[in-house]
């Protein structure tokens, strides 16, 4: 749609015309068990890239490492052309890489609006001395509130504006988390299983929101273990199995790739009680 990836080879580690995130040799192991080992991965700017793979493939671990929530044992990566290896999570967020969580992290005892306003970056009132002088930050606060209200409207949460976030339903929390991430004005948004535990009607609306983000020029990367969900909206699909990239390409080619089918079916054949978690228990 927006970016043409037809010239890119459908093979693991393929180079993209304008990559936003470039990963090299990243590995992470837990107690001797390698959870992630990615030789090379590029994520194209302005596309929806899905990271798929069976449970325990290392998708979330890779996500955590790249977003600064976990430390890699080795490897380097760059974001937007600048080195990003081992940067703290909050620094990555400020540089424009914002993530959501598989188990939504809404701030229960804060209102929906406060959840939104918190996420705006560069707030003067967040420093201790200016905080004491409301005139210094009141105008900015107003601007932020306006932006938050617009986003709440767009995500159909405006009627919950002044409620505690803890009173939202599971689906509404997913929406709030996505809207809140947008308050950061990210260049790239990483969504960790946004569809998990959401009813089918809301899934459609979430997918719609995700496509909208891409159409506005944002780069979206999301983790999903259910292949069918991602096929319709992804521009590019990367498949992980046992921590390694086994295939990547446009959705149609990945769906037919024997390595992908192996990863999904093989896993189920060999190990019917595959771990329910992406990270091995410690």
């Amino acid at each position: 749609m927006s970016v043409d990836l037809s010239a890119v080879a459908a093979e693991p580690g393929a180079a993209k015309p304008d990559p936003l995130l470039v990963v090299d040799g990243v590995s992470r192991s837990f107690g001797g068990l390698t959870a992630v080992h990615v030789e090379h991965l590029e994520i194209q700017r302005g596309t929806i890239t899905s990271l798929i793979g069976p449970n325990g493939a290392g998708k979330s671990t890779l996500f955590n490492v790249l977003s600064g929530f976990d430390k890699a044992d080795s490897g380097t990566w760059t974001f937007d052309g600048r080195p990003a290896t081992g940067r703290a999570a909050h620094r990555m967020a400020r540089r424009g890489l914002v993530r959501t969580f598989q188990l939504t992290k809404t701030l229960s005892k804060m209102t929906v609006l406060d959840n939104m306003k918190l996420a705006a970056t560069g707030q003067r009132g967040e420093q201790v001395l200016p905080a004491l002088l409301p005139p210094l930050w009141r105008r900015q606060e107003k601007e932020i509130t306006g932006r938050a209200d617009e986003l709440l409207e767009r995500f159909r949460l405006a009627h919950m504006r002044d409620e505690y976030a803890g009173t939202l339903s599971g689906g509404q929390r997913k929406l709030l988390e996505m809207a809140r991430a947008l308050m950061v004005r990210p260049t790239m948004i990483m969504l960790d299983e946004p569809m998990a535990g959401v009813n089918p009607a809301l899934t459609q609306s979430l997918l719609g929101h995700i496509t909208d983000l891409r159409d506005e020029g944002m780069t979206v990367c999301f983790v999903e273990h259910d292949m069918d969900v991602v096929m319709g909206i992804s521009d590019w699909v990367v498949c992980l199995a046992e921590g390694r990239i086994v295939a990547e390409g446009p959705p149609s080619s990945v769906a037919k790739n024997p390595a992908v089918i192996d990863a999904y079916l093989g896993k189920q054949h060999d190990d019917p009680e595959a771990r329910g978690d992406d990270e091995p228990a410690e």
């Binding site: 976990d70 430390k71 228990a281 410690e282």
Partner: protein, 331 residues
Amino acid sequence: MRVSRMLVPVFALLLMALAPASAMAQSNEVPRGPTFLDRALQVLVDGIQFGSIIAITAVGLSLVFGTTHLINFAHGELVTIGAVVAFFLNVAASGPGWHLIPAALVAIAAGALLGGLIERGIWRPLRKRGTGMINLFIITIGFSLLLRHVVLVFYGTRPQSYREYDIQQAIDLGPVGITPRDLTIVVLSVLVLLGVAFMLQKTRIGTAIRAVSANRDLAEASGIDVNRVVLVVWVLGGGLAALGGVFFGLTEIITWDMGFRLLLLMFAGIILGGLGSAYGAMVGSFVIGIVAQVSTLWFPIDLQNAWALLALIVVLLIRPQGILGQRERVG
């Protein structure tokens, strides 16, 4: 982290700065008798003995933390109650005046029973209500205040000793001496700790305790009765605490707040060894006991617990996961 490492010497210096001329004055009156090496060996023996008492009491606290993630500030009171129950049976005018050994056995049983009752009567219902972890910490603080002052009302503020084994002649073992009483305490403590380790490794309930500590949900899913395991841990912890209390009362003295004073050293031992690991708690406790006693080689005796607690903070600076703990990144 690098910044915080550099703080170790700064912290040490800050405390050194507190030591003015008085420390110098003491060095003038060094006793002529034993050499430094002899004294060092002696305090090492004392440290092992002190560490064994901390270890016995800390294991229960560590197991409770491991299985329920509860930091139990009232654990020290189980120690005090053990010591005081034995005191009433052994010494008190209104008591039966038993010999210390049966008195201690009854105290251990009472401690175990109390541990079990507390778990059944307070913590299990609260867990069922879904009370938050932080609220539970604060409830243990309230409980500790309550128990401690109830003991104070019954026992009074006067420090007292048991009737038997109070004053003994030390056995001479070359450069070091140890009283038969203290030797017995060390040997018994080590045997009990080995027994606990054996239980954790070899018995069904021990395996279950380790499973619940490692991953509570997984243990529950694989059919372990978590509530029963936690109850066993409390009974065991209560009994061990009472035993530790009797030992502590024997080697030092019985006071109404002895357990609370020991509590911080137990925490230090547990964190030093690695939070949640029972073996770590044992190792850490010995380290704490030894640090406390060895510090008396150079520093006044009223600071021995302060040095032991300081060891805890230093360890947090350089190896936050503790001696036997796993590296765990938080934040």
